[in-house]
């Protein structure tokens, strides 16, 4: 075929428009640029249909006149960016071939080139990687090839090949396409038009509906659409992106793609089904991925199953903070237990990553400990219970955790403080456990608390509301006078080896009182250094440690 006339061109246009219409939905799905509203295919289709309708009613033998009709129809019906560009491409083409009753391959190529020139003139800032680029590359190739190729169908084959190759390159030119993983929608639309042209020239039939690109491309396009539709994670209706293949088995339920698609559509949206005689590939967004798989299994073996939680993915995508924030604050942590905000502060200042509220009468559970460690985001952890009643829970927590964990069995807050100080972030969990256990071994703890009832322990008579002095877990006296209790406790604890006395005074006493006590110690034991902190702990007016 050396030339084409108006009638032949009109047929090409009809075929191009028809083929584009068949695939408009796919083009819609690809739409990311300039605004991802998923209407490029629809717009191009409406534009092209208008062009084709005008061509159909004004077809003459004269190619120039037929092309003019196409240009006019396209201009009137132009919809959307790609539609307008399409109209410009054929407006230029129409102008170029205006005077010809029929065109040669060379004139046809020149027409395409003039169309591209026209289209580029109408834009201030052409964006490459769009339909413009695809048209430009194809036209350039056409002009080159027409120097050697006379047959128009042969030329059209070359044009289509180049258009497809150019389309494939669009993601390299336009980052947004690469990001989503699709080719340009407008460019794809133009390729469909050219495919129609070629089929018409060759007298071939095109498949009624081609799959349009690979399944993977369609899936990323569907995903893109799904994400565009929902700005808020909570609005995702179907949460699981489910993809699988069924190896069709003749002995099982007989496969009909239409029925299959219909049946699956009740489980969710973004459904894609592609099949040949052997396998069916399915992609669907569903709330019940299990049901979908069960359905698929009726037709044969499932292969290549992939299910993803899109809510999680979307959360990442839109940059929302995940609800359960797992920031790794302290990959290697010391988690301890204490009562009183002052004590907590002190422990944290000494190096504890987290302090769980608790202690006597309100022991944290294993669960509390596990949760605290997870909140910290620790990968390795040392747990300091600071109370003999919590050691068990801590041990259990250490076992439950799927990370390296060890318990340093501190029974009192002063022990815990000494242990925290010995923590070495460079050492292994095991080594730390050993050195921290050694560190608290030489700490003597004294505590003063209220008696809650009358009793007799360790040979000491205790009356309700008395102050009990406890040295190293042993009750040494009970008295109504806090000062007497404190002084006697100190006397029992401070010996020649004592270097440092730490006083943690609690809610039930005053700083002035604690200061008096400190002064008294300094007067009586000049070699002992005294440190005093407001521990704000309940129940224990004084917690003392002697090292």
């Amino acid at each position: 075929m050396k030339t084409i006339n108006g009638n032949q061109f009109a047929e090409m246009v009809q075929m191009g428009a028809h083929h584009l219409a068949q695939n408009a939905a796919y083009v819609d799905a690809l739409n990311v640029f300039p605004v991802p509203d998923g209407d490029t295919g629809t717009n191009m289709n409406l534009s092209m249909t208008s062009g084709a309708a005008e061509t159909a009613t004004h077809t003459t033998e004269h190619l120039g006149k037929t092309a003019q009709a196409l240009a006019k129809g396209l201009l009137m019906g132009a919809r959307g960016n790609s539609g307008v560009i399409l109209s410009q491409l054929f407006r230029g083409f129409g102008k170029s071939v205006e005077g010809y009753a029929e065109v040669t391959a060379e004139q046809f190529a020149a027409g395409l080139q003039y169309g591209v020139d026209t289209a580029y003139k109408a834009v201030m800032k052409p964006v490459e990687g769009t339909i413009l680029t695809v048209a430009k590359d194809a036209a350039k190739k056409a002009v080159e090839a027409a120097k050697e190729v006379d047959a128009i169908d042969e030329l059209m084959t070359i044009i289509l090949e180049e258009a497809k190759a150019s389309l494939k390159r669009t993601p390299d030119l336009l980052p947004v396409l690469k990001e989503v993983g699709v080719v340009d929608s407008g460019g794809q639309g133009l390729v469909y038009v050219y495919e129609g042209f070629l089929a018409s020239l060759k007298g071939e039939e095109l498949p009624e509906k081609t799959a349009g690109g690979s399944m993977d491309e369609m899936i990323s396009a569907e995903h893109h659409m799904a994400i565009q539709g929902f700005m808020d994670t909570s609005e995702i209706e179907f949460g699981f992106c489910t993809e699988f293949m069924v190896r069709l088995d003749e002995t099982k339920k007989s496969f009909d793609e239409g029925d299959f698609r219909n049946d699956l559509s009740v489980y969710g949206d973004s459904l894609l089904v592609i099949s040949d005689d052997e396998v069916a590939k399915i992609h669907i967004h569903s709330e019940q991925p299990g049901e979908v798989l069960n359905y698929g299994q009726q037709y044969g073996d499932l292969i290549k199953i992939k299910i993803e939680n899109m809510r999680e993915q979307h959360t990442d995508l839109v940059g929302e903070q995940p609800k359960k924030q797992k920031t790794v604050k302290h990959p290697y942590a010391v988690v301890t237990v204490a009562m009183g905000t002052g004590v907590s502060e002190l422990l944290k200042n000494l190096g504890a990553s987290a302090v769980i509220e608790g202690g006597q009468t309100m022991n944290p559970s294993t669960e509390d400990i596990v949760k605290a460690i997870k909140d910290v985001g620790a990968e390795r952890v040392l747990i300091l219970p600071n109370n003999k009643n919590i050691i068990m829970a801590a041990e259990q927590a250490a076992e439950l955790l799927e990370i390296e964990a060890a318990v340093v069995p501190t029974k009192t807050v002063p022990q815990g403080m000494a242990a925290v100080l010995a923590f070495n972030p460079e050492a292994t969990v095991e080594d730390n456990k050993n050195s921290m256990t050694q560190a608290f071994a030489h700490v003597k703890t004294g505590q003063i608390t209220h008696a809650v009832r009358d009793t007799s322990i360790d040979g000491v008579e205790i009356a309700k509301d008395d102050f009990m002095a406890i040295a190293e877990g042993k009750i040494i006296l009970s008295t109504k006078d806090l000062e007497v209790a404190a002084k006697q406790l100190l006397e029992s604890m401070v010996d020649e080896d004592a270097e440092l006395l730490t006083i943690l005074y609690g809610q039930d006493t005053t700083e002035a009182h604690a200061q008096e006590l400190a002064d008294w110690v300094e007067a009586h034991y000049p070699d002992v250094e005294v440190e005093m902190y407001n521990g704000k702990q309940p129940l224990y007016p004084y917690i003392l440690s002697v090292e």
């Binding site: 959307g80 539609g83 307008v84 410009q88 026209t118 003139k121 834009v123």
Partner: protein, 120 residues
């Protein structure tokens, strides 16, 4: 004058000039647009196409009750379907402002100030 956005961390002020530049930049990427024109054509020269730094002359940003309304003065290419191009400008400007500023645009009014014939 500027548009204020308040969030948990404090407030953000975006000048109308900045908004005009983003809107103008989005518009001139639209197919069929030849350029932005001045709102005051007589005063500023009848057919002068505005440069980037002058976009504010062709893009009017108004704020009312926290909603932004934009007027755009454009020049389009001859032989194109002007209504479609104007619509493209509206949709692209709205989308771009929403994306880059998180700003809800109530209206984008497009005034076609001129038609340029592309010289071949």
């Amino acid at each position: 004058m500027s548009i204020e956005i308040k969030n948990d961390f404090g407030q953000i002020e975006i000048s109308q000039d900045a908004i005009a530049q983003i809107a103008g930049g989005a518009a001139i990427e639209c197919y069929g647009i030849v350029g932005m024109a001045s709102k005051h054509q007589v005063k500023d020269g009848l057919s002068d196409i505005l440069r980037k730094e002058n976009f504010s002359k062709g893009v009017l940003v108004r704020e009312k009750d926290g909603k932004v309304n934009i007027d755009m003065y454009i020049i389009v290419s001859y032989g194109t379907k002007i209504s479609e191009i104007a619509y493209q400008v509206q949709s692209k400007v709205k989308y771009t402002l929403g994306k880059s500023l998180g700003m809800a645009v109530e209206s984008v009014n497009v005034y076609v100030q001129g038609v340029r014939v592309a010289t071949m």
